[in-house]
């Protein structure tokens, strides 16, 4: 089983991943409709935030629209069943399931059915689609960064 992983220090904040993502799904250029999001912040931060496919959103859905795809392991939204109620949004600890502003259904990363577009297009190879065991190793390391001494406050904070 493969999964998506970020190599954080490779990201240069170009946001091509967002652009290719919205293009793939909607044939439009619109980062607001992308299922991956890059946070650029001062100082030092260029962070691609990806869905970790953890599944916390599944039980939040009153319509049973969210489930895990057995082939890819990705959590997917059945857009037919989704009513756009938005209960899944707060269930995600990192904010990676949201209601699409145009179609008004929940959208999230589905790993492009096993062939992630963002991985193919990232010019820095900051996004990788690799064996889950290997991914686990990288994820530990990325998470450990949060414990670095003198963490830098993210400015500005949204209201």
């Amino acid at each position: 089983m493969k999964t998506l992983v970020v190599i954080p220090d490779r990201c240069v904040g170009c946001m091509l991943c967002e652009l290719y993502c919205s293009f793939k799904f909607y044939k439009t250029h619109n980062p607001a409709r992308a299922r991956i999001h890059v946070i650029r912040s001062e100082p030092y931060i260029d962070a691609p935030i990806i869905c970790l496919q953890c599944g916390l959103c599944i039980s939040s859905c009153p319509s049973g629209a969210i489930s895990r795809n057995k082939k890819t392991g990705a959590i997917v939204v059945d857009e037919e069943k989704c009513t756009g109620c938005g209960l899944c949004v707060p269930s995600c600890p990192i904010g990676m399931i949201r209601i699409d502003p145009v179609v008004h259904v929940a959208i999230k990363c589905d790993l492009c059915g096993g062939d992630p577009e963002c991985v193919k297009r990232c010019p820095e190879k900051a996004l990788q689609y690799i064996d889950a065991e290997e991914a686990a190793y990288y994820r530990q390391r990325a998470f450990a960064k949060l414990f670095e001494k003198a963490p830098v406050a993210m400015k500005p904070y949204p209201r």
Binding site: C14, F23, H29, P43
Partner: protein
């Protein structure tokens, strides 16, 4: 109205005097003939600006311009250009910047923002989701670019909006003040910041969720992938610009005796290595950074952690900056250069013009044309870091001798007199940048003399790519003389024709709204006119081939030229500084000088179809380009120089 693909479809027109905001539909008659971005802005300013107005008066207009390719998957789409009448040159100004502003303006639902009139009190503009509000900027006036950005983002509550703003230099109407965006990206040349300052508008902030639509998505996607694959083959990018940044050019240019040193004295600097890209990478570079949608990522992110020149992390420095504040001033301290760059960004000052003005001051001081009486006791010694930092601050704040230099070297030289005008390195008032025309290629001299905005190495195009780098840019099928002649040759080898065609290619990026860098290279490894035409056609659904696109470029270039003619500029203003006609003193290009600019100008005007004596586009040429009304207006002008 038929759906417009690629364009946002709306123009935001803001009258600051009346505090009125108009949302106008994009004029299809203009995009049909001029495509967009600089082309569209040139037509609007041609129609709406009265000739002879004060660029710092309420009659001037400032346009934030994007093109159809801005914000798309086309390489280099993180771009916008600010077009206005320049307070530095009194001529056409187009000032490009990278970052995120251009794309986010389109996501906000607008292709252009036109600022007119003058606000009574400082304001800023918040543009989002098809709407715009004029807001009070009293608390922001006086703040640096970085502070302004932080405060505004917090005030509007959207940390991801893009802020384009001026710093204290723009407020003080320094004639080469910039409009910065996303903190450290600069629309730097020609002084757009002063125009914004004169209108008392501190910032334009933008964001939105409107997508940029595509007429033929599959074709567009294929065209983009093909273009990206071509770019991957561009070895100079792979080996230098990407890993080292534009600052990676320092060692190369020095090795070729093309590094401006000691203000026109020579093209070779013994200590250039100290501020090279290789040195930066080993010392103060934190990481690379990219603009929106760019697979190259040439930006640097730099920090000086301690010492007298300590500087917080920020984007920069670029090649131009390190040379203008480095070898041009006989200065080699990289830390101090980084600090100076940060101060320029903070205050909103063009590093090219600032470095040039400082070196000019040093040259004048060296030759006794400026004394400590003029400088308030400051000794302007070559190579002194403290002097440079001091002068940058003084220029930005218009203090002491800084007030004189803030006028630009042309005006400063006129005021100083005593022969200072022969020392100043500018064309049309725009300070000469970090490409030595005697050392890089003589075509650079021709470019400096004829670029509509003055001494510019990049607009409309970097012509050195042809005879210095020996690249085709995909222009052979469009008539580019090939192979290129000796870079040191002047007239008689096709440079006039080549420069014209290279300029047309550059205008393609300026009218479609993208960065120039992906367009630099050979047929197989850069975005050629053919590749732009393919992407543009698939995006907008308006079929166009590379020949037609170059024709539109010709139209836009002619319009920019006519804008200048209308302001009184003719062949007499297509010059190069006197020092460029004197031989380079040392190094690999010792002895090189520009000896036949007139010959090159003759060739260029002939290639363009312009009158050789005056450089004015002929009626025949203008009518051929569908610019009869422009020809009529020029003919009707009382002061039009007679042929």
């Amino acid at each position: 109205m038929k759906q417009l693909f690629g364009y946002a479809g709306k123009v935001l027109r803001v009258n600051l005097t009346k505090k009125k905001i108009l949302k106008q539909p994009l004029r299809e008659d203009i995009i049909d003939k001029y495509v967009g971005c600089v082309g569209y802005a040139a037509r609007v300013l041609w129609e709406e600006l009265k000739p002879g107005i004060d660029p710092l008066g309420p009659g001037n207009k400032l346009i934030f311009a994007t093109g159809p390719l801005t914000g798309t998957l086309c390489p280099g789409s993180g771009s916008h250009e600010i077009c206005t009448k320049s307070p530095l040159t009194g001529a056409w100004a187009e000032s490009r910047s990278g970052g995120f502003f251009g794309p986010k303006l389109k996501f906000a639902g607008f292709d252009f923002v036109i600022l007119e009139g003058r606000a009574e009190k400082p304001v800023y503009l918040w543009v989002h989701d098809g709407e715009a509000e004029i807001r009070d900027a009293k608390e922001l006036w006086g703040k640096t670019v970085h502070e302004t950005t932080d405060v505004v983002l917090e005030e509007i509550g959207d940390p991801e909006a893009s802020v384009a703003c001026i710093g204290p230099a723009g407020e003080k109407l320094v004639r080469f003040a910039t409009v910065m965006n996303d903190k450290d990206r600069a629309a730097a040349r020609c002084g757009p910041g002063a125009v914004m300052g004169s209108k008392k508008i501190k910032a334009v902030v933008t964001n939105g969720i409107q997508g940029i639509s595509v007429a033929h998505p599959e074709e567009f996607y294929e065209a983009v992938i093909e273009a990206e694959e071509a770019l991957k083959k561009n070895m100079p990018n792979v080996h230098t610009i990407i890993p080292l940044g534009t600052i990676g050019l320092v060692n190369i240019y020095n090795s070729q005796g093309a590094l401006p040193t000691k203000y026109g004295y020579t093209g070779y600097f013994e200590n250039a290595e100290k501020f090279s890209g290789e040195t930066l990478a080993k010392t103060f570079l934190v990481k690379r950074r990219a603009c929106f949608g760019c697979s190259m990522g040439c930006g640097r992110y730099t920090e000086v952690k301690s010492g007298p020149w300590a500087t917080p992390p920020h984007e920069g420095p670029e090649y131009e900056t390190v040379v203008m504040l480095g070898s041009l001033c006989l200065h080699d301290n990289l830390e101090a250069i980084i600090r100076a760059n940060y101060i320029c960004n903070s205050y909103g000052l063009d590093t090219i013009s600032a470095g040039n003005a400082i070196a000019f001051a040093m040259d004048c001081y060296d030759k006794g044309l400026l004394t400590t009486a003029d400088t308030g006791g400051l000794e302007l010694r070559w190579g002194d870091s403290a002097t440079i930092i001091n002068l940058v601050e003084k220029i930005a704040k218009r203090e002491g001798v800084g007030d004189l230099l803030a006028e630009g070297v042309r005006r400063a030289a006129a005021k100083i007199g005593k022969g200072a005008e022969e020392l100043a390195l500018h064309v049309k008032g725009l300070e000469m940048p970090a490409h030595e025309p005697r050392g890089e290629a003589k075509s650079t001299a021709l470019l400096y003399a004829t670029s509509p905005r003055g001494a510019c190495h990049m607009h409309p195009y970097w012509t050195g790519s042809w005879d210095f780098n020996q690249w085709t840019g995909g222009l052979i099928e469009l008539g580019l003389p090939w192979p290129p002649p000796d870079k040191f040759a002047e007239a008689g080898v096709g440079k006039g024709l080549a420069v014209k065609l290279l300029m047309f290619h550059g205008v393609i990026q300026d009218i479609t709204g993208v960065c120039r860098f992906p367009a630099l290279g050979k047929e197989e490894d850069c975005i050629t006119p053919k590749r732009y035409a393919r992407m543009l056609s698939a995006l907008t659904g308006r079929e166009i081939n590379q020949f037609e696109l170059m024709k539109i470029s010709e139209r836009v270039l002619n319009l920019e030229k006519c804008f200048n003619v209308r302001e009184g500029l003719t062949r007499k203003d297509d010059t190069i500084p006197k020092k460029m006609k004197e031989p380079i003193a040392t190094g690999p290009t010792k002895g090189q000088a520009v000896t036949n600019l007139d010959g090159m100008l003759d060739e260029y005007y002939e290639a363009c179809g312009w009158d050789k004596k005056t450089s004015i586009p002929t009626r025949e040429k203008l009518e051929e380009l569908g610019l009869k009304d422009v020809a009529d207006e020029l003919a009707g002008m009382a002061k039009t120089p007679k042929i």
